[in-house]
Symmetry: C2
Subunit: 387 residues, 2 copies
């Protein structure tokens, strides 16, 4: 199997880009990734997108983006797995290059939430849950996460401010990140006083849905351009797994089994133990997802994810730094681009280009992209390539 190198990265600021179209947003990230790669030319384009057929009335994004980027003629397709679309697209790009059938692949994640406003956004998001048995009852992904958090709090006797460390850490890490939507630290007091959205979730327990695009260029080592002078980052593990679509079909809804399974498979493939991971970009669209992800991967014991965070273990100097550049909470959740933002940020860390966000001696990172309440989980291990 061919070693897959991430040779180029590009991203746009996450935010409300009212004045920029989906294709322009995508191209901004692609342009930067191509320049960063030293001028590689992709033969295939994998687009991670979650909701454009509803939000932007636009399907067939593979062609839209390949065409607009001047790559007309190349292979292009859209990959969708709800919130895990970015991770899933990265995996398809990885498979294409690892198989030897594609030399250089472009993986672009893009989402344009501001193409729709108001209740239309929540309605679009609800298409990712079970439309016949969940959405039809009026439950939205946000309301469902609130119920999950309520159950967790009840089960493990979590105090009222028990989840505070997740957004506090994310916001602290977002300070100074030019690509983050929110770059202001918050205090415990701010968290405690915040407006309730869906009890027990307040506004800081929920990542903001926002526009964004992020891109990576995957290739083989022998195809790197002359003069390529970044530290080499490889994808050493890649795995994807599914659970039930509907939360009510699970034996234990407080376990993110797909997060466990896909992380385990990716670690096995990479030949890395979880103690060797230097940072974890988890899928913190909701604080409760962050807690359950820490438990699923084995960093925290069951029911102790919140405590692990409260004890400072997810901070930059903690046991396992998480959301190192703001995570979905502070950087913003750009739908199908989210998994590619994680990828780009991990590459920045591994190359040692993270500036104030830098995790010292970061040589191995785990990134994890979730669709729904971990109905899909896609995990990747990114490492410095010594070879």
């Amino acid at each position: 199997m061919t070693e897959v190198i991430i040779a180029g990265i590009g991203l746009t600021q996450v935010g409300e880009h009212w004045e920029i179209s989906l294709r322009d947003l995508a191209f901004a990230a692609i342009h930067d990734a191509l320049v960063d790669s030293g001028g590689l030319k992709p033969q295939a384009c994998f687009v991670g997108n979650m909701l454009a057929p509803n939000l932007s009335k636009q399907a067939h994004l593979g062609v839209l983006i390949a065409d607009f980027s001047g790559f007309s003629g190349i292979e292009a397709t859209t990959i969708e797995a709800a919130g895990a679309s970015g991770g899933a697209a990265l995996r398809q790009g990885y498979l294409a290059v690892a198989s030897g059938m594609v030399d250089t692949a472009l993986v672009i994640g893009v989402e344009k939430f501001t193409d729709k406003v108001g209740a239309g956004v929540e309605e679009a998001l609800s298409t990712t849950s079970d439309s016949d048995f969940e959405a039809v009852q009026g439950i939205t992904p946000t309301a469902q996460a609130a119920l999950l958090m309520k159950r967790y709090i009840h089960e493990y006797q979590v105090p009222p401010d028990g989840f505070a460390a997740f957004p506090i850490t994310a916001h602290a890490n977002g300070v100074g990140n030019p690509y983050a939507m929110f770059r202001k630290a918050i205090t415990l007091e701010t968290y405690v006083k915040a407006e309730m959205v869906s009890e027990p979730m307040n506004m800081f327990d929920i990542a903001p849905n926002a526009d964004g695009a992020a891109a990576v260029i995957l290739t083989r080592r022998d195809l790197l351009p002359r003069g390529f002078n970044h530290s080499l980052v490889k994808i050493s593990g890649s795995a994807s797994s599914t659970d039930t679509l509907a939360l009510h079909d699970r034996k234990d809804m407080l376990r993110f089994d797909t997060a466990s399974l896909s992380a385990e498979r990716a670690l096995n493939q990479a030949g890395v133990r979880s103690e060797e991971i230097h940072f974890f970009e988890y899928h913190d669209t909701f604080s409760i997802y962050a807690a359950l992800s820490l438990e699923a991967v084995g960093f925290a014991a069951k029911g102790q994810g919140w405590k692990f965070a409260a004890d400072g273990e997810i901070a930059k100097n903690g046991r396992i730094p998480c959301a190192t550049m703001g995570g979905m909470k502070a950087r913003g959740f750009a739908g199908g681009a989210a998994g590619i933002y994680q990828t780009v940020e991990a590459v920045i860390q591994l190359r040692g280009q993270a500036g104030v966000h830098q995790i010292p001696d970061a040589r191995c990172g785990l990134i994890q992209s979730l669709g729904g309440p971990a109905s899909t989980a896609v995990s990747h291990i990114l490492q410095i390539s010594d070879g």
Copy 2:
């Protein structure tokens, strides 16, 4: 690169399945494919779907289908490339198995047009064109195909009944196919008298949008179950290509360049010359697409696709039999399932199981799945494996 065998096939009748949900429809095809494969168990599921986020208010189909089919835990994702979604999903399944990273993959195409009615369907279909520069003007894919046909007729002086052979051949081939939506032969008189839909296209120049699901199981030769006794069909060529999304951006809109390019690449990979192809399952959602596809692949000269058909060369005893079991016109166009229907039908031909539809000594077939006016084209060569 690992040889990829199509070890199982399953399909449902194409039609208006008001009483069957999307997941049930998908499972019916999957069940039959699994039984046909002798009991293989997939590790990955690739779902080809075109419009479910709009038609069925359901995204995240990978999980929906893997879960409902009892495969919870496996990898699953949705692949979208407009009308080429089925072909694109087959290609991702092919890449996964050919790379050696997945042992057995399930590729399922499914679409449920009857989840929406009236103008909502045409609106959903329009999301596959350029929404900012085409759909926004009110042009639908059907109206666009009519304009394309008009230009073709003007350019090549085609007589009023010049396209009749496409639907007449398709309907003749649909007779006796239990999975076809229409199983009645039509005459030239029926064609000439048919109601005009969008001038110059009458209702027989347009394939019916309808519900359907088709599935294939891909695996390696060494994993075939004991007692597997079908003739072995392999995927020997696979390629995908894109053109401009908007038709008005093309230098010559009467050339389907992606159809040429992807067929050429697939043929090269398979080491097969186009003269060695025994049948061609083209993407005949519109008669004009069929004509342009014949020209693109090189079976007919430019501007002569309609004449080639009128001369009987696409009939079962012609130079290159097309739409051998009814094509999209008579079998029906089931959106993201269309490319998998082509695949299943090609396997039936190659195994010699096609009964009244059988092409004598069929050992090599070309199938081609188009998205939009060949904005995407995915081509596959299927062959009897002698190995």
